[in-house]
C-alpha cells in the first residue's frame, strides 16, 4: 500500500535532512502509529505521502503511484484517494456540518444525488447525525474532529493520514476518536497516524514506527510508545 525506498528529504532552511534514508513498507489495511519527538520527521513523512512535498532522494509509492514523480495534473487523483485529518480540524466556519462534508465531494465534481446520499451516511457513522445542521463553532472539539474525519472518509479513501488528531482533545474524547479511526480501519482503509499520545499508542497495541532525527529507529508490529518516555 505504502512503500518508501531509501527516501531522504532535505529542506533549504536546515543542514540536517528531515528524513534520512528511510525505507519502510505498510500493507493494505494496516493501522500504523508514527511516533517520535517534534522535528523527528513525522510531518515530513505524511507530507511526502500526500505529495505536499517531493523527496530529495528515493521513491515514495502510494497504491500504484510513484508519488514523487507524479505529474502536477495527476496529483488530484492521488489526493482523492487519500483522506487527511489534522490537529486543528480545518473546518470551514461559514458552513454547516453537512456542508463541510459535502464540500469535499462538491469540489471534486461528484453529482448532487450522490452527495445527498453519502453525506448523511457518513455523518451517521461518526455519530453526528443529530448535528448535521450545526455550525462548527457550536460543536465541541471532539465533535469538530468527527466532522473532519467524516470529511476525510466520505470519499472512501484507500488511505487515511492523521497528523496528531487527538492533540487538542482531552483523554476521554481522544479515546472516542481512536475508536472511530479503528472502525474506519476495519472497513479496509489503511490508517497512518502521527502522534505524541502515549496512552493511546500503549492501549491500541498496533504497529509502531518510531522516527528520530529523520531515521527509523524502531518498527514493531504490536508496539508501545516506549519505556521511560
Amino acid at each position: 500500500m505504502i512503500r518508501l525506498e531509501r527516501v531522504s528529504k532535505s529542506y533549504k532552511t536546515s543542514t540536517r535532512p528531515a528524513l534520512d534514508d528511510v525505507s519502510v513498507e505498510f500493507d493494505k489495511g494496516e493501522f500504523v502509529f508514527l511516533i517520535g519527538p517534534s522535528g523527528s520527521g513525522k510531518s515530513t513523512f505524511l507530507r511526502l505521502l500526500l505529495r505536499e512535498d517531493v523527496p530529495s532522494r528515493g521513491d515514495v509509492y502510494v497504491a500504484d503511484w510513484n508519488v514523487g514523480k507524479l505529474s502536477r495534473r495527476r496529483v488530484p487523483q492521488l489526493r482523492q484517494r487519500v483522506g487527511c485529518v489534522f490537529q486543528d480540524f480545518r473546518l470551514l466556519n461559514n458552513k454547516t456540518v453537512t456542508e463541510n462534508v459535502a464540500f469535499a465531494l462538491e469540489v471534486i465534481g461528484k453529482p448532487r444525488h450522490t452527495i445527498r446520499k453519502v453525506v448523511p451516511e457518513v455523518l451517521d457513522m461518526v455519530g453526528l447525525a443529530g448535528k448535521a445542521d450545526r455550525m462548527p463553532y457550536e460543536l465541541s472539539g471532539g465533535e469538530q474532529q468527527r466532522v473532519a474525519i467524516a470529511r476525510a472518509f466520505v470519499n472512501r479513501p484507500l488511505l487515511l493520514l492523521a497528523d496528531e488528531p487527538t492533540g487538542n482533545l482531552d483523554p476521554d474524547i481522544s479515546q472516542d476518536i481512536m475508536l472511530l479511526l479503528e472502525r474506519i480501519n476495519r472497513t479496509g482503509t489503511t490508517v497512518v497516524m502521527a502522534t505524541h499520545n502515549h496512552a493511546i499508542v500503549d492501549s491500541m497495541r498496533r504497529r509502531v514506527v518510531e522516527l528520530q532525527l529523520g531515521q527509523v529507529v524502531r518498527d514493531e508490529s504490536r508496539g508501545v510508545y516506549g519505556v521511560g518516555r
Partner: protein
C-alpha cells in the same frame, strides 16, 4: 464540473471583497471608456477626412492687374491660365471668382461681424481661380506648374490648413489612447491585486480543496471568473458612460457644431459598433491577468 458550485463561489468572492470589486470595476470601466472614446475619435476623424478632402480646393490668386481690369476673365492672360488649368492633369474643375464675387462671399462669411464688413473694401480682395483637384495630394504639382506664371499672384492650398486641423485631432486621439493605456495598467494591477486578496481570504477553502483532490481548474476557476465578471461589468459601465457622454454632453454642448456640419455627429451606431469590442477587451484582459496572477502569485 458543477457550474452551480463554481458560481456560488464566484458570488461569495465578489461579495466578500465588495470594495475591491467596485474599485476594480470602476478602473476597468474608465480605461475601457477612454479606449472607446479614442476609437470614436478615430471614426470621427475618418469621416471628417472624407468630408473635407472632397471639398478642398486650391486657390490660384490673380494679380491686381487682372483683378481690377478683367472682372469677367475674358482676355489674356486670364483666359490662357483658365485653359491651361483646365487641361492640367489631376484637375477636376476650375471656377473663376471675380473680385466682386469674392467680396460678396466675404460679406456672407462675416455676416455676424459687422465691424469687419465695414472695414473691408472690394479692392483688398483679389480675383482667383478655384481649382478642384481629383486628388488633394497633388497640390504641389499645381503650385509648381503655375507658381510663376504671368497674372498669378500666389497659390494657396486649403488642404494645408486641414492637415493642421487633423494633426490636432490625431493628437487628441493619441492622448486619449495614452491615458487609456496608463489607466489600463492601473486596472491590470487592481485586477491582479483583487485576485490575490480574494485567494488570501479564501485560503482555508482553497487549502481544503487542494487536500481533497480538487483539480487546478476547480480551485482556480472561481477566481478567474471573478476577474472576468468584473471585466465584463467594467465594459458595460464603459458603454453606459459613452452613451451618457453622447446624450448628456456631446449632443448638447456641440449641437451647433454638429448642425453646421463642421464635425460629423457621433451616432448611436458608432457606439454600438465599438461596444462589443470593449466588452471583449474587458473580459479578455481580465481573464489573462487573472490567469497570469494565479500562475505566478497564488499557490492553489
Amino acid at each position: 464540473m458543477r457550474a452551480s458550485f463554481v458560481f456560488s463561489e464566484v458570488l461569495t468572492g465578489l461579495r466578500r471583497n465588495m470594495t475591491m470589486t467596485i474599485a476594480m470595476v470602476i478602473t476597468t470601466a474608465i480605461s475601457l471608456g477612454l479606449l472607446g472614446g479614442g476609437l470614436l475619435v478615430v471614426r470621427t476623424i475618418d469621416r471628417m477626412q472624407d468630408l473635407y478632402y472632397d471639398r478642398v480646393e486650391v486657390a490660384v490668386f490673380l494679380t491686381e492687374d487682372i483683378s481690377a481690369n478683367d472682372p469677367g476673365c475674358t482676355a489674356s492672360p486670364c483666359t490662357d491660365l483658365r485653359t491651361e488649368l483646365e487641361a492640367a492633369s489631376g484637375v477636376e474643375s476650375v471656377t473663376f471668382e471675380s473680385r466682386a464675387e469674392a467680396f460678396a462671399r466675404f460679406q456672407q462669411i462675416f455676416e455676424a461681424q459687422p465691424e469687419l464688413r465695414e472695414l473691408a473694401r472690394p479692392e483688398a480682395l483679389p480675383a482667383s481661380f478655384r481649382v478642384q483637384l481629383t486628388d488633394p495630394e497633388r497640390f504641389g504639382v499645381v503650385a509648381q506648374e503655375f507658381g510663376g506664371r504671368p497674372g498669378v499672384d500666389r497659390i494657396a492650398d486649403q488642404g494645408a490648413y486641414l492637415d493642421r486641423l487633423f494633426e490636432l485631432l490625431s493628437g487628441l486621439r493619441n492622448a486619449t489612447f495614452v491615458i487609456a493605456l496608463v489607466q489600463s495598467l492601473a486596472a491590470l494591477l487592481l485586477i491582479s491585486n483583487t485576485i490575490q486578496v480574494s485567494a488570501f481570504t479564501r485560503r482555508t477553502e482553497v487549502g481544503i480543496m487542494r487536500l481533497v483532490g480538487a483539480t487546478r481548474w476547480y480551485t482556480q476557476l472561481p477566481f478567474l471568473i471573478e476577474a472576468v465578471v468584473a471585466g465584463l461589468a467594467g465594459g458595460l459601465l464603459a458603454i453606459f458612460g459613452l452613451l451618457l457622454a453622447k446624450t448628456a454632453f456631446l449632443d448638447r454642448v456641440l449641437s451647433d457644431v454638429f448642425a453646421s456640419g463642421i464635425v460629423p455627429q457621433v451616432e448611436f451606431g458608432d457606439i454600438a459598433l465599438v461596444s462589443p469590442f470593449l466588452i471583449l477587451v474587458g473580459a479578455a484582459v481580465a481573464a489573462v491577468t487573472g490567469y497570469v496572477t494565479l500562475r505566478l502569485y497564488v499557490r492553489v
